[in-house]
């Protein structure tokens, strides 16, 4: 199949940037979206052009490194799917595909489709952990954990830190990401001692980074590749108000 791509090109963080049109031919439906870009990039390199810079690593939907806004939707329209897991069989022959970077002030564009998501790390630094020096832990069976709690904590813990939630949120809020971590640790007995201070510190850091406030529009969950549910945000608000 053949496609027309409109891709955001921006050489440096200060560059103004623009959309550039490319034609790609003979795309196989079994290719992944990133493999389609690889093919285009190899061509660009041989033509002496700058290949389109994009982040990726695992290419199996777990590292959270990839991410682009495809036709206006973070990670593309297929639900619960990262960009690297998106396959070309979901596109129509002859279609025009618009590709843009995550857009949010706390995620400045580094180059082309690559953005700086270090704000997420700083949110975790603020309190997204349990303080336990290596070697000081009690036996793993010392505290049983209800299966339901463990499962719910796991569901929240599957967040891959990709940032799609921020990219999709009309307010540029990082609530879903932050809430996922607060919920994960807050549901486990091991996370209790620091629960209140964690919620407060992480939410404050989120605001400090310049993310917007949540007005519960739910766009974030809809694009989240791991389906992190909205109730994590309610949990975060609860913990935050309590703290």
């Amino acid at each position: 199949m053949n496609l027309t791509l409109k891709v955001w090109r921006q050489k440096t963080p200060d560059d103004k940037g623009r959309m550039v049109k490319y034609l790609v031919q003979d795309v196989s439906p079994d290719m992944s979206f990133l493999e389609m870009l690889d093919v285009l990039n190899e061509r660009l390199i041989l033509e002496g052009d700058d290949p389109i810079a994009f982040d990726h690593d695992c290419r199996e939907g777990i590292c959270g490194m990839c991410g682009m806004v495809i036709n206006g939707v973070a990670h593309g329209e297929q639900r619960a799917t990262t960009t690297c897991q998106l396959h070309m069989r979901h596109f129509e022959d002859g279609a025009t595909v618009t590709i843009e970077p995550w857009r949010a002030a706390p995620f400045p564009v580094v180059k082309d489709l690559v953005v700086d998501r270090s704000a997420f790390d700083r949110i975790i630094q603020a309190g997204g952990f349990v303080s336990v020096p290596a070697g000081s832990a009690p036996d793993a069976h010392a505290v049983p954990v209800k299966k339901d709690d463990a499962d719910a904590a796991f569901d929240a813990a599957t967040c891959i830190g990709c940032g799609a939630c921020v990219a999709a949120c009309p307010n540029g809020s990082a609530s879903l990401f932050t809430a996922a971590k607060i919920t994960h640790l807050g549901l486990l007995p091991q996370g209790q001692p620091e629960r209140d201070s964690r919620a407060k510190a992480m939410v404050d850091q989120m605001d400090l980074e310049g993310f917007g406030g949540c007005t519960n529009t739910g766009e974030c969950t809809a694009v989240c590749p791991k389906g992190i549910p909205l109730d994590t945000i309610a949990q975060m608000n609860r913990d935050y108000l309590k703290a």
Partner: protein, 641 residues
Amino acid sequence: MNFTVGEPLIDTKAPEGPIEDRWDKRRFAAKLVNPANKRKLNVIVIGTGLAGGSAAATLGELGYNVTSFCYQDTPRRAHSIAAQGGINAAKNYRGDGDSVHRLFYDTVKGGDFRARESNVYRLAQVSANIIDQAVAQGVPFAREYGGLLDTRSFGGAQVSRTFYARGQTGQQLLLGAYQALERQIAAGTVAMHTRHEMLDLIVADGRARGVIVRDMVTGEIERHLADAVVLASGGYGNVFFLSTNAKGCNTTAIWRAHRRGAMFANPCYTQIHPTCIPVSGEYQSKLTLMSESLRNDGRVWVPLRKGDDRPAGDIPDDERDYYLERIYPAFGNLVPRDIASRAAKNVCDEGRGVGPGGLGVYLDFRDAIGRLGRDAVEQKYGNLFEMYERITGEDPYSQPMRIYPAVHYTMGGLWVDYDLQSTIPGLFVIGEANFSDHGANRLGASALMQGLADGYFVLPTTIGDYLADGPYGEVDEGAVAEAEIAVRGRIARLLSVNGTRTADSYHRELGKLMWDYCGMERTEESLRKALERIPELRAEFWQNVKVSGEADELNQALERAGRVADFFDLAELMCLDALHRTESCGGHFRAESQDADGEALRDDENFAYVAAWQFQPEGGPVLHKEKLDYDYVKMSQRSYK
């Protein structure tokens, strides 16, 4: 390529005495660092995977001044995140007869008697602490209704000792380490540099004293100095281009260290994982693993008859060959990886493979779904099934998965002693980047265990013994400048070739060559061919590669080209190692050395050693042999029948 044989290598740090006491003995003998001094001691850690992340966090916690690097945009994305199946630990929570000794035994045997007994025993001892540590950090392991931790069994073991978090164990463990690391970053004990790639090691006065890194955003070449350097840069499976590793996984960090004097041990030991999604086309950029845990409930088969192209569901049971269950009745579908992989290759070579090109076998859940119900199967493997469906567009609930072996893990790596120190004083190597614990084949769920054992428990103790004699003073400027100039020179050279092929296209060709000639099955002839072809291809690369863009910007074409260049050199050493080891063992199968049943035939008389290769600029590498002794596990022919 020629090589010479040098002096035998001896691990001077390995303690003597009863194996149970050796780690305690070493810990007690290790010098301690005065707490006030720790802040003055700088340690560089390359890599933030399970090994590097846990090490940096723990060293920071202990009070050292740590500088940490990774090539991704955040430490949480290290390739450990992709590990699916689980992590072993000798907890014996099930009371099914597990013990430190049994885990030790299984690992030595699984490694086909090519691992060190002392190291493996320590690994088994420490394994239990890892689970405690992870649980305390909030890692949400799978639990049973009673609230206790659940476990499952994995290839190569008859007890259920694998702890897991659905199909995302690596992710959850890495997030635990990452969170601990971020905590130290916030506390100021660890300075984190993301999007920085190590391109050379600084060795001054015979000690590792720092690294040269490239800021991958600005292209700036930076020098970072320290009293010790820890490499935790992961495995080099991407030498095959197609592997289950992340796209960025590379050999550059350890290869550069090798060129500076660190010996490279057992480079030819690669693990081919039996359950991966088969290749679908030329453009394919990587292969995806389907966790080994699937073999717990999935049954592997191919049609009995050659060229049977009926849909799987139409083939009646008596025309199916459940070949693993047939050949290995004791372990059945749970034989170790090397054995399962080769069996798959054999049935495909017989023309009984399924799917495009006949390169695939079925992994069938029909019976499991019948026995446990669809919900239970979904609960256990839901995310893996989903992943399969995404990639292939086929529904594994209604038709069997197609799988084929793919390169997955590299047992070889930089040589280290019992203290995890390489042959360069002050250079420590942990995780998949070293060679230490798995011998010629790694058991499933043991890499996570080793990475975390190294990072949380072993290295933080042993590195203290080295640092107690520090700080090591000013670093010789000449050595730093030399390394920096070398790095700049290489980058300039890559950019100046301006040829007609991309680095990726060379990488693809090299990978295919390695897979064909140094893959699942190796022969003297294939290896000689590879050794002839690799230098030619490398020469062509350096004359004809095209790297667009500039040095001083984010330049992904340049990053890849640098990595491919190092893969060429490594590939050559791998083939040489494979050629010199004329026996078969674990992941290294030499067609010339097999028994009547086609199983790997070891040659303990001549090859019970670690092959440690020393780099020489001219005249080929020098082989140093470290003899392996087995006092606690009797060497025997591995049998899973």
